[in-house]
Symmetry: C2
Subunit: 350 residues, 2 copies
């Protein structure tokens, strides 16, 4: 990119926006993606598919709180900023379509740095057919702030609410748990620990892939009851499902899918890997329930095979929905039952 030493304050807001639109390329035009008018008017003008519900969610990231520029490249940061949004739409059973990106920027930042953030956003957006249709840029002197609003759509019968769990349902989870927390520990330590699979952990924290394709396959099976994405840790997300559905849940800790690399990093750090799996945030896996009628474990295994074949992502049966309202229990390998508290990342709490 030209003018590598240009600062934002040298070119101002309007020239910056022009350059960012250029960086977006096709991800900013959205030909054939229901974009009647994208960036460049008072508001974007969009056309959603008839018969669909509109899905909307937003997610704000603040430098030093959600990310650390000492180990995120701006391109990774752009990618990651959009992940939580796509994951939210996936968790509703929907298809992400359009995003609006608000940036609070330090005036002395390099233009090329912001362009790289946008390149990361465009990379992930392009992967899932999402068009950036608007946004805002303004000055934020101390910290970089990124707030992305995502719009998606889902057919009415396919929306997966977190209130859709019923007594007896099986509880399933995609992928592996705790890897993002293990990756964060690895990066915070300087990224030098000699751990087998360290790259997998780094990627889990820096460049997770939202489970958009997996969610579509799961939803189309017609078996999904409740679904959440795991952004704040399994314990917290399971409590949300249980509260919204008016039921309880029991999980077996030995069933939780934890990768070898996560286990190794946990041993290296002196942490119980279960804590990362239960309370570590940002895994962006899907937590879902499917009907617990007769033969359903068999159906769950079949669904798992279908999912793995299509996407490479495993699906694991980790627990059951109980009738007892609000109670979440975990069963230890020795059979001991303990309450699982809704801990996880909570902003503001010290």
């Amino acid at each position: 990119m030209k003018g590598n030493n240009l600062r934002i304050k040298d070119i101002g807001e309007f020239a910056l926006i022009e350059r960012l639109v250029e960086v977006l390329g096709p991800a900013g035009r959205g030909a054939g993606q229901g974009v009647i008018r994208g960036i460049g008017d008072d508001a974007a003008v969009l056309q959603n598919n008839p018969g669909t519900r509109l899905l909307a969610s937003c997610d704000m990231l603040v430098e030093g709180i959600h990310f650390d520029l000492s180990y995120f490249t701006p391109r990774q940061l752009g990618w990651k900023a959009l992940v939580a949004n796509l994951s939210d739409i996936a968790a509703m059973g929907g298809r992400p379509r359009w995003a609006l990106v608000s940036l609070g920027l330090k005036p002395e930042m390099k233009v090329s740095f912001v362009e790289e953030i946008y390149a990361g956003i465009a990379e992930l957006a392009g992967k899932f057919g999402v068009t950036i249709v608007g946004g805002d840029t303004c000055s934020s002197p101390e910290r970089l702030v990124i707030d992305i609003c995502i719009l998606g759509e889902a057919y009415r019968a396919e929306v997966a609410y977190r209130s859709g769990a019923h007594e007896g349902d099986l509880i399933l989870v995609t992928g592996k748990l705790g890897a993002a927390a293990a990756g964060l520990a690895y990066l915070r330590e300087g990224g030098k620990a000699a751990i087998d699979g360290a790259e997998e952990l780094r990627q889990a924290h820096l460049k997770p892939v939202p489970r958009v394709k997996e969610a579509a396959i799961l939803i189309h099976s017609g078996m999904v009851g409740a679904m959440n994405d795991i952004s704040d840790g399994l314990a917290s997300e399971l409590h949300e499902i249980v509260q919204a559905s008016g039921c309880g849940a029991r999980i077996w800790t030995e069933r939780l899918p934890i990768s070898q690399a996560t286990a190794l990093m946990a041993a290296h750090t002196g942490v119980n890997p279960l804590d990362w799996a239960l309370y570590g945030g940002e895994d962006y896996e899907l937590l879902l329930t499917i009907s617990g009628e007769k033969g359903s474990p068999l159906k769950a295994r079949k669904l798992g095979r279908t999912l793995a074949k299509a996407t490479g992502t495993p699906l694991n049966f980790i627990g059951r929905i109980l009738p007892l309202s609000g109670t979440v229990e975990m069963v230890r390998p020795d059979g001991e039952i303990e309450p699982l508290l809704p801990e996880g990342y909570n902003h503001f709490k010290e």
Copy 2:
């Protein structure tokens, strides 16, 4: 409100969100407003009206850049944070429907302060039938950040693009210009200047009313070509219309509607009131063009009377669209013609 000395860090994110939802009341539930599921799942689930286009826009405000807490109460701030959004939807010829509110908050802030921001948002949202359907809260240690994403809808034939101006069109503007800038000057001076109409200026800066009703009346007349809201000053907005439409424009400075209070405050401050009218931002009036065919000045006057009767808001004819691409001129009272440059608020530029 209870617990007036509670700090955000005392109660954490989840309890804060619960309290904010309570503050929103009906503005957070949206019964009958196309809200299938509002706050409380991974994404809001919405139903727009068949045959409409979806409109989406967002606007980020940063403490010390866009607003100063020394003269904004938190309730006024909440109101104002939503104004720019509603104004954007109005300027597209649309009806604002749903909003998502992202807040970057200082952990030591009082909970009651954030509740008041939300009360201000709810007040304005309620006035225009807007439901708050989602958002995010996170920690922003130095500065309060508010980013609101607005969703609206408009019937396909009624969307007003800024590219809709044609040679010969009349240029019209609602309300008065420069009052928000005059109000800012008044507040910055300490709010003590003995100016007739000072309260009008204060309100213009602190609690402007977006021209949602006015836009609907104008759009339904079928006469609107291009439309923009004046957030960055008339000069900048007119340049946007002219650029998008591939034409030029001429305005007569003596036709610009400037209130007596603005003129008085300008004299008091030693500023040319025309500068506030042309380059002062945040007036949130509408700038529009209507077809310039024979008899159109008469039609414009009739439209103005209809608008004033229904809303009390004046409509003024201030200029004409010219064929010369990209050129914007202003005619001084003595007949002298000068280029009008696209100045206005530009973030980052020093």
